[in-house]
Symmetry: C2
Subunit: 141 residues, 2 copies
Amino acid sequence: MNEIESLGLTKQRQAVLQVIREADEHLTANEVFEYARRIRPGISFATVYNSLRYLKNEGLIGDVSFGNDATRYDRNLTRHDHAICNNCGKLVDLDLTIPNALIKQAAERSRFEPESIELTLRGLCPECSRSGDLKNKLKGK
Amino acid sequence: MNEIESLGLTKQRQAVLQVIREADEHLTANEVFEYARRIRPGISFATVYNSLRYLKNEGLIGDVSFGNDATRYDRNLTRHDHAICNNCGKLVDLDLTIPNALIKQAAERSRFEPESIELTLRGLCPECSRSGDLKNKLKGK
DNA sequence: TTTAGAATTGGAACTATTCTAATTGCAAAT
DNA sequence: ATTTGCAATTAGAATAGTTCCAATTCTAAA
């Protein structure tokens, strides 16, 4: 009995959790469905969504979403930040230390009771940054 | 000829821009449409979307979006951060000073070429925070 | 005026997600 | 073993936000 099985989840929820834990990138619900059906053929799309909601409420997975793109699911449950590519949309995790003074400043100025705080860097990922150079070279810039 | 008229925009785009500039909150496309049709009856939904995209590309408005909620449009073009309520979804602007060291750390660790950086505080807005207290009192906690 | 390109329009199409109602699976009680 | 009841699953419909498309209208320059 492995770790996932020991959680007392249904077979479908186990499959969804396994997919997210084994993925190297952040998957969309659609992608989770594609992979999950390989482990458990016959699983329905609705069950994937139900499972994702359930697993998130249980604190077994996290999620991220930017812009109008599909929500992506995250095996990393610790507090972390993100970088997102303005050109290709690539999303990567980032571990930053947010200074307490900054958190305090944010809480004071917003008058919100803070529960979490996250930083997002938008820019060009290494690949897009490099191909941008290339394009400029071809144009003779 | 006021400032908006002097930009050489079409009547429809002027109306959309005016709505966003006069709004005290961040409006969704739907809300922009509701207000814009009062200024310019007959404006279509498609034109509102077209105008929002156009104005954004021209750098006359900004936008923000969180989770799977509708994109909201922003008259504030200067760099700023946001606080968003985990209970009611209220979104407020926040002016924070992000330390250069933090920006540098983010760029180095992600290996992205940074274009912008933003911080998001999630928590309870003053209203929700207060009504939470109230609920607890009624429950006798 | 004429005309060409841009903007606008209404509606269809699309994507991501949620809802609904019927069915199935499974664990506890008999 | 069998029954029972609730939770989970399922397929498909429904919804929300947004984009696309083809036809029409506007506008500014020739």
